[in-house]
Amino acid sequence: MRYIMIAILILTTAGPAMGLSDVFDDKIYDMGALKPTDSVLKVNAGDLAPEFTLPAISGKTVSLSDFRGQKNVIISFVPAAWTPVCSDQWPGYKIAAPLFDRYDAIVLGITVDNLPTLYAWTMQMGSLGFDVLSDFWPHGRTAAAYGVLRGDGLAERAIFIVDKSGMVRYAHVSDINQRPELGRIVEALGKIDQKQDAP
């Protein structure tokens, strides 16, 4: 009984969970400070973006080539569901949608989590307005193709912008502990020639 009380005392003084938004209450798992990056980027601006076909929480199967000739694609890799920075990043892209629309761009979110996990997590965030894809199995194959699969099995926190011809126009791997700044994404979108022709 003594040890149970001590444990309770320690737990109540351990400090609040790390999730920033109140929407997650105590559901966020604090992974602590991770190594900022742990991969070797395989894709750079000017390269043809590696094709992928992944299952989505919408129930569809989504391929990058689905958007060829139609939309610029912002691929947002985040490390894991139910973790602090990730839970604090995608809700911002929801309200940034009108901004992305100006550049004829859509967002695809990708993590290495399985679909049920992604579904539960994104429902907690509310409707995001973009599809979220699972790179769970084969584990991290798409992340690996882009060079953003970490040694611990997570994906990096990375943004790739692919234009309508399938070319990578922006590739950036952030410090995994920090959210990418929106202004940089918008700046990169602004540099894409909106009059590009479909191949």
Partner: protein
């Protein structure tokens, strides 16, 4: 029995303190970056100084919201906060005596401005891109509201400090003003 009493006493003493952020100690004296827009500086009454503290604001009551562009609750709360601002601005007595300020935790100037434009926020919002302010006040959840009473002598006195939304603007104002000399 002795251990049970000791435990309960320790819990009562330690737990609330462990969970409370150092807002009381830090936010009133923190140097905050002054808004670039002259109209916002004029609203706050802080002149042309590059930085200011809550105590420098020309008001008797200051309502501070710690928010994030990326926070779903902050996004939903925006319309409520706008109603609060409108109610205050339309009141003949409160308009000059109650000021509002937002701190964008972890948000760059671009992100803060985008949040402002998206939700038509009329009061000043300042960026805190590296979480410096946010960490200094205890890594609070967002949204988080702090209300200061500046009518007393000495350091601004905190009369309200809570996470989450404010409920209705009317009930919020009733609550916080009842804790200040400012009468309805």
């Amino acid at each position: 029995m002795r251990y049970t009493i000791t435990f309960l006493l320790a819990l009562w003493v330690v737990a609330p303190g462990a969970w409370s952020a150092p807002i009381d100690q830090n936010l009133p004296s923190l140097n905050l970056p002054a808004p670039e827009d002259a109209a916002y500086r004029q609203y706050l009454g802080i002149g042309d100084a590059p930085s200011f503290t809550v105590a420098d604001i020309n008001a008797r009551v200051v309502i501070v919201e710690v928010f994030s562009m990326y926070c779903p609750h902050c996004q939903k709360e925006a319309s409520v906060i706008n109603d609060l601002y409108r109610q205050i601005s339309a009141h003949p007595q409160w308009a000059d005596q109650i000021k509002m300020l937002g701190i964008g935790a972890g948000n760059s100037a671009f992100e803060v401005n985008y949040f402002r434009e998206t939700y038509h926020i009329a009061f000043p919002l300042i960026p805190d891109p590296h979480y410096d302010i946010h960490q200094a006040i205890g890594d609070v959840r967002t949204p988080y509201f702090v209300v200061f009473d500046l009518s007393r002598s000495g350091s601004p006195h905190i009369v309200y400090s809570e996470p989450g939304g404010i409920g209705s603007p009317d009930s919020f104002l009733k609550t916080v003003l009842s804790r200040t000399p400012l009468s309805r």
